[in-house]
Symmetry: C2
Subunit: 212 residues, 2 copies
Amino acid sequence: MADLSAPSEYSDTERTIFDAALQVFAREGRNGARMQGIADAADINKAMLHYYFRDKRTLYENVFAYTVRQFMASFDISLTEAPTFAETLRVFIDGYVDFVRTHDAAMRLMVQENLAGGTLLGEHMREATKTDRTPPSILVNTIEDAVEAGEIRPVDPHHAVLTVISTCLYFFVARPTVQILHPPAERDWDAFVEERKDHLFDLIYRGLAPRD
Amino acid sequence: MADLSAPSEYSDTERTIFDAALQVFAREGRNGARMQGIADAADINKAMLHYYFRDKRTLYENVFAYTVRQFMASFDISLTEAPTFAETLRVFIDGYVDFVRTHDAAMRLMVQENLAGGTLLGEHMREATKTDRTPPSILVNTIEDAVEAGEIRPVDPHHAVLTVISTCLYFFVARPTVQILHPPAERDWDAFVEERKDHLFDLIYRGLAPRD
DNA sequence: GTCTATATCTCGATAGAC
DNA sequence: GTCTATCGAGATATAGAC
């Protein structure tokens, strides 16, 4: 499996700073984050941040660019062609939920950038698809193929993909709200996540199944 | 229909400030937002902000408290009991999507607070349910009733509700990403939203339907 | 590479004229 | 109620010793 956080060409110190910055930017946002907060999280002093990454903007852009690449690659990682569409879907849901679960800060950073208008998204997504040539359209293609093979009913593949992503991702975004309104999710979040994989596969697969 | 933005007891100037603050907080987050930015958006000077709302924290709490109340009420507004569960679901999806579409900034503010850890969520949600006695559990109850009546198969109602909310809401959160990856959504967002209502009802209703 | 001290600037908040 | 000017805290960033 690929590295969970910082790019591999980084030194140990760079990785530490990178990981700390990711956490703080994800929580506080691009402008809300404080260099002192990042320094504290990395357990170093402020001057070191500027030694390794010129300024706040440079640090943010490095973190964000890598986050975008991770997210683009996540589709490819979670999608493994199985004999049936049902199995492919099941594996994708499990894999994508696990991806988001283990990349919580990266996910929150992506959402932050979207909420802020997504001005940085366009260029970095283009850059990421160029480097890793893993557009999320492979997922769209998978749905299209399943429709053509008659494994699922005719649906707009873009909406179907968006629905899968939404359901696998949003409950992490709204985790505090979910935990307030649903005490079992508060008591044992991991169990709730596993439950959710089952629920989502059942609901989405039946929702896509052909008429009888 | 209820007021779209600020509490009705506000004066014109207070409303202007309130609306501007909502927009900026929704975009930049609680800490990322700048008082100067809010003043600019309201087309007044900074001193006026402090004249009407003591300080940044007070302004934020006023905006956030109102936003929470709107969101709690949104379930009640969108949910009208229809003869069949299918109709109830259809009307809810249409209503809730429209609610989010017309309360975009409020929605983004809720998400921001969740991403930041949701520390203010608990108290304000309790307060809102006390005032307006409209807990989102009415939705859960609707699903439970439909299960008991045999209108849909047995499902965990909490997961089902979370799935409906996710799919109706998340594509607004990720709108910049969606528009980059799917050009038709960029060209005509409103048409895309309408398409999505149809897709969501079809997929979710079939997903919940009883075995034949 | 690491740390202390400090320069520079931005931001929230207030004073006080009108 | 509205505006200009400004204070003081806290933030980014750098200088320079080690």
